[in-house]
Symmetry: C2
Subunit: 424 residues, 2 copies
């Protein structure tokens, strides 16, 4: 008997690859030393006697991954989505983020965000804070308590930004390095991540400075890419020597490669950008609801899957109104259907197995072996009670997952485990 | 003092027209003899002493209108949406509907539907049953108990349908007339409505027979129109003499005019169809989620509004997964944004006031003066508690409505009044 092992009993389902869901109506999901030992119909002899929690026919799935979310915009979610990206930033997002200069506001607002994150099925997330270091530390303290594994970034922005939400180049680089040093050894669950807002709000000098910090500290980085036509044109104007928007990051050595990189959106890549993302192993955070809400369009996710590129889902609160990654799956499917129906019949709509893959194993790969119940994966699991949807006795495990994707809310999420530890 | 009057106190908001929301942070919504007497900052002297229910700062809105929903598909919602309309009908919708031949199944399944309808913010609905008369009567009995005002239709289908879900022409007409006679005087809240499924499943003789029944009994009628390209091509093949799909209904005198008619979808109207719908005052049930889920496209709702045509929203469960008309509003806005972004920059995306208008006054017009709090409108009101969304003290009434549209679920719906009577 292994003292560091336990089993959860229930209806287990997970992705093997983007086309294949593996499910078992009643089975044992075994955790050993924080990792998945396997899914079994009966407990194997070497695990005899381990503690078993019996969840009846409740669903057990890998934890969901949110590859892109703006924590400071949570309070303002579901408001003011009558504009496209650039005016939306100036009218809604920037004024809200400026409020985080005040620590009391940050504590209250980030408290709301982290309570919602905790109640969701999300187990890992890549999170934008604001440019304010004290507020970013408050966010990290609060996320740490939820047990969610998170990369969190103090945002950098030194140009094309409002007077109350801007840094000088020197301030931005120095504050980032000071913040990074303060993070070392401070958290078990939270890690820092470089977070230049996007090319239009970061000067060349700032990007160069962040590139140096990245190489010095071996840090992952997150930013935005090719979300909206006006934004792309603006980047081209700022960097006329580039073949694509991604090139403007590549110039400073911060577009994937050695240090893992997440780029949110990638709605309108050209061929040069596709190739660069592919070559550098950039993670794409597909944010379908946000891309609908602020009229950006629909990313060619089928292309990313066909080329075996790295892609997951993001809620992108508050371009997205919803923190739920189940909703992001439903939105990804719906958006892909309208893309097919209205624009491009060469890319077939996404399926339920594909959307679930994106939300688990696809995004999870950013953390390594995360997002599946195959042997050796980190034991991140969510237990779901779908009894309020009625019919759990009538449907297959895969059908129940499908209904959860389209119909669930926080009431359905009852327990969460991360790296084998129950956090809820 | 008027004995048939009372007031609800709260934060009131309603549509005056499709561009104008009227709101008041704290005010009295007065009901007199089942109709709205007005919204006042203080109780007018002629109403002094009437009972007042104080809902604090809770939101009070007109009841929502669902112009198109298939009750028998509710049990199967959120499943099997990987196909387009015609194969989806054959693979999922028809087999499910065939189960309603059995009364015990109908009672159980319709019980689920009516409980959900009751818990929703919907106060009026136009509902498809199946072709089975006993099951349709069970549905009417159950909806009657919810207090929701509903038109309900026994479905007619005598061709291109599976063996276990089809009638002969004579059976279909006779069963319909017998069912109609049985409805007379039986219900306070439910009324019968003619419901030919759609042109492909109704022979010319059946359509002619239903046209006669309509003229004899002065009945409203509901059906489907121009949802999907393959369906439209099929109708053109079945009726080569027509200028548009709607013409195939018009041939039998069942396309609006004297008897009110609801046509669901209208995603792909040609100019002839637009003119015919406009001339005949056909009500369009825009079903954005269904049109995404089964890849139909996005209806040109802005065109309908600009031409002052009659248009409201439908959940279209189970092409739509959700019974919530709030979700239909959010989906209508999002779908219109993708239509704009991917297909046609001439039609601007829908706004929040427009979506709310469609869901209330737009659809409500099918019942007459319904869907607003202007004087003389039927007193249908829903009381909403948005405290779980946090921030109700920080936002304007209109902003709170916006958040309810994007974020609410059945937990937020706490009371419903219809024609001045509290039903929940």
């Amino acid at each position: 008997m292994n003292n560091n092992a336990f089993a959860l009993k229930g209806s287990v389902i997970y992705s093997q690859d983007c086309n294949t869901l593996v499910s078992a109506a009643t089975s044992y999901l075994i955790c050993e030393d924080g990792k998945v030992a396997g899914v079994f119909e009966t407990i194997p002899s070497r695990f005899e006697g381990i503690p078993i929690t019996d969840y009846g026919n409740k669903l057990i799935i890998p934890g969901l991954i949110d590859l892109h979310v703006h924590a400071p915009q949570y309070t303002y979610r579901a408001l003011g989505m009558d504009l496209e990206l650039l005016p939306w930033l100036n009218t809604y997002a920037f004024p809200e983020e400026a409020k985080y200069a005040e620590e009391a506001y940050a504590r209250k607002a980030y408290g709301r965000f982290t309570r919602a994150l905790s109640a969701s099925a999300t187990t890992r997330a890549a999170i934008f804070a604001t440019l304010h270091v004290p507020a970013t530390n408050i966010l990290m303290d609060l996320v740490e308590q939820t047990g969610v594994q998170a990369y969190i970034g103090k945002v950098n922005m030194d140009r094309n930004s409002p007077d109350n939400l801007i840094e000088t180049t020197v301030q931005s680089v120095e504050a980032t390095e000071k913040w990074l040093k303060g993070c070392v050894g401070r958290y078990e669950n939270c890690k820092p991540m470089l977070t230049p807002r996007f090319i239009p709000s970061c000067s060349n000098e700032l990007m160069a400075g962040l590139g140096e910090l990245q190489r010095k500290y071996k840090l992952p980085l997150q930013s935005h890419l090719s979300e909206n036509a006006s934004e792309i044109a603006w980047v081209q104007q700022l960097h006329p020597d580039t073949h694509c928007y991604g090139d403007a990051y590549e110039k400073y050595g911060v577009f994937g490669g050695e240090c893992p990189t997440i780029m949110a959106h990638c709605v309108h890549p050209n061929e040069a950008e596709l190739e660069l993302m592919d070559k550098n192993g950039v993670f794409i955070a597909h944010c379908p609801q946000s891309n609908m809400n602020i009229c950006s369009g629909v990313a060619p996710v089928r292309t990313y899957l066909e080329r075996n590129m790295r892609v997951g889902l993001g809620s992108d609160v508050a371009g997205g109104a919803d923190l739920s990654i189940f909703k992001a799956m439903a939105d990804a499917i719906r958006a892909s259907k309208l893309r097919w129906a209205l624009k491009d019949k060469t890319l077939a709509p996404l399926t339920v197995p594909e959307a679930f893959y994106l939300a688990t194993k696809g995004g999870g790969a950013f953390w390594g072996k995360v997002g599946s119940f195959e042997e050796g994966y980190e034991f991140d699991a969510v237990v779901l009670d779908d009894s309020n949807l009625e019919g759990s006795e009538e449907f297959s495990v895969q059908q129940r997952l499908e209904r959860i994707i389209y119909l669930s809310d926080d009431r359905n999420v009852i327990h969460k485990f991360i790296k084998g530890k129950q956090i809820r």
